[in-house]
């Protein structure tokens, strides 16, 4: 093994400078992050294959370019965090699981957790890098603090063929995967953005106790913080969609500068028994929900087969039912865009698709048809069932149910009314994604959503992102 130590950021002199300039109110963050290259000769970081410099990365071999990207990501965290003890990242490239259409890009995380009465939260697991910072020294000097393994075969035939890591530093990744963004995300997990709670609600152990991340998780339905819950309560909370929020003050204070107003919703105003806001999945086609939105009476389709499902041009009965109204249509058989176009041709002003599978939140809808000019949203199967229970009693042209496809102009996307950011708690649970990420409704898109979106920059703090703020909440 070739275990080169590559100093990423020698911030000690910067730290000294920061101390000397505190009088001016300037706070310079300083952490030394070291990439420990544990690759064998000619592999991974040591791959001698020549490469042309790209996107600000001056490396002239594939291996050097890879190392430069790791350095760049570590530089960003090093410039933003304070820690006296050095943070060492044990990094290597290896053959990870893949096939022609999917690949494990990599893995990362803390190598250890520690607990101490001198930490802000007692009986709580802290990732080792943060524990070292709070302790003021390396608790275990023999072990790196973060481990990172990335797929050396990505893009090769049979390993997400043709899709490579982009090794530039300018986020101009095109159809490839921006390695620096992925590293920023994964390093953040290693620095503490990780719940460690299992799907069954069990804490990490033994001894089984909450992580520092869990100390800031609140279920707004039950009003309980996660550390006070039983395993069963945590398991239930982990699928309580969009009702688990982050309570850290730094994140909440930064929400107004990061997340935009206008949470999409279906607002039902009548009957009183159904009045309220309902979660919606958005369509790629037609106009996006807006304010004040489209308000109309809601009418379901009648008939059987494709007529009932909106897959055929509407017959006279359904035209009479939906003209000037919002059509409620079951998901299934044909594409969403077909249903929307048929409803539009019948005179509908909007479309609600009822999911035909359990789960929450409702998924998004694909499709392309620039001639569709009415909004379409999807609701959950359960919400649709409640609607239909009321709609059983209606005339052929009126139901008495009124809804608006629109947005809540006073609610920021991805946050609750108190500006607390929602954690990702879909039902069913998604291993690896649930809880330890922001909810996917966040907009602007955030680095720590479960799906690494293609429009992310390399900024990790407000007004672009909230990752640094959550690390500050954790104790950094």
């Amino acid at each position: 093994m070739n275990a080169n130590l590559n100093l990423v950021r020698g911030f000690r002199s910067v730290a000294l400078l920061a101390a000397l300039t505190l009088w001016a109110g300037t706070a310079h963050a300083a952490a030394t992050i070291v990439i420990q290259n544990t690759d064998a000769p000619n592999v991974g970081f040591n791959d001698p294959t020549p490469a042309a410099p790209i996107g600000g990365n001056p490396g002239t071999t594939i291996g050097q370019q890879r190392l430069n990207v790791f350095q760049a990501a570590a530089n960003i965290w090093g410039a933003n965090l304070n820690s006296v003890p050095t943070i060492i990242v044990d990094a290597a490239w290896s053959a990870l699981a893949c096939n022609a259409n999917a690949a494990t890009l990599g893995s990362a995380g803390a190598t250890q957790v520690f607990s101490s009465a001198i930490f802000p939260f007692p009986n709580t697991w802290y990732n080792v890098a943060l524990a070292n910072k709070l302790f003021g020294a390396q608790i275990d000097p023999t072990t790196p603090q973060i481990r990172a393994r990335f797929n050396v075969n990505l893009g090769q035939p049979g390993c997400l063929t043709g899709v490579f890591f982009y090794l530039g530093l300018d986020a101009n990744h095109g159809s490839n995967i921006d390695l620096e963004t992925v590293l920023l995300h994964e390093f953040a997990h290693g620095l503490g953005f990780q719940s460690f709670t299992t799907q069954a609600g069990s804490n990490l152990g033994p001894p089984f106790q909450p992580s520092v991340f869990s100390q800031f998780e609140l279920d707004t339905t039950t009003g309980k913080q996660w550390p006070t819950m039983t395993d069963a309560e945590r398991a239930a909370s982990s699928i309580n969609t969009r009702n688990v929020v982050w309570t850290g003050a730094n994140v909440t204070a930064s929400v107004p500068s990061v997340l935009l107003f206008g949470t999409p919703r279906l607002l039902t105003t009548a009957p009183a028994s159904l009045a309220g806001n309902y979660l919606v999945g958005l369509a790629q086609f037609g106009p996006a929900p807006s304010s004040p939105g489209v308000n109309a009476e809601v009418m379901p389709l009648t008939g059987t087969g494709n007529q009932l499902l909106g897959c055929d041009p509407f017959n006279a009965l359904n035209v009479a039912a939906v003209a000037g109204k919002i059509a409620l249509i079951d998901r299934g058989v044909c594409g969403f865009v077909v249903k929307a176009k048929n409803a539009q041709n019948a005179g509908a002003v909007g479309v609600i698709i009822q999911n035909n599978a359990a789960g929450s939140p409702p998924p998004g809808m694909a499709g392309v048809d620039p001639t569709v000019v009415i909004p379409t949203v999807m609701i959950t199967q359960g919400d649709g069932a409640a609607f239909r229970n009321f709609l059983k009693f209606r005339s052929r042209t009126h139901s008495g149910m009124f809804s608006t496809i629109g947005v809540d102009p006073n609610l920021r996307q991805g946050a609750d009314a108190a500006n607390r950011v929602m954690l990702y708690t879909p039902n069913p649970y998604v291993p690896g994604s649930s809880v330890s990420h922001w909810d996917t409704s966040a907009f602007a898109n955030l680095l720590m959503e479960p799906n690494i979106n293609g429009d992310l920059t390399h900024n990790v703090t407000s007004p672009f992102d909230l990752t640094l703020e959550i690390l500050h909440d954790l104790g950094w």
Partner: protein, 137 residues
């Protein structure tokens, strides 16, 4: 339909893994028999590209990988007396990329190596999800 069957099988495998992670953490014995019988799992034939029932060998390979017990963390005490845990690959966060039907690529996560491997296998058969992956119908 075929993809749906394969997806259901893959999700079942994920559930087994999760249960066993919990079982491992509580010291319970972990079974090793695949839940699904041969014929209930559909795979894409590497030669023809068509879906077909998994062979017994493929089923064992598929489920044998996905039902491995998650590695439990190891309790430690530091030289300075702090209680801690050595974490394993199954407490790491794994990132998985999948190619969508329209050729775009979605990036999502898996909870540890065991589930990451299962997700790659499932995604290779067309099961994908996430903010950037809306449903086709």
């Amino acid at each position: 339909m075929l993809a749906a069957v394969a997806a259901a099988a893959a999700l079942s495998a994920v559930t087994v893994s999760s249960d066993q992670q919990r079982a491992a953490s509580t010291g319970k014995q972990i079974g090793s028999q695949p839940r699904a019988a041969a014929g209930s799992v559909v795979v894409r034939d590497p030669d023809t590209g068509q879906f077909r029932d998994a062979t017994p060998e493929e089923l064992l390979a598929l489920q044998g990988q996905s039902i491995q017990a998650a590695q439990a963390p190891e309790p430690i005490v530091s030289a300075t007396g702090l209680a801690g845990l050595n974490l394993t690959d199954d407490q790491m966060t794994f990132t998985v990329a999948t190619r969508n039907a329209d050729g775009s690529v979605s990036i999502a996560h898996a909870d540890g190596k065991t589930q990451a491997d299962a997700k790659v296998r499932a995604a290779g058969r067309g099961l994908v999800a996430g903010k950037e992956q809306p449903l086709e119908r």
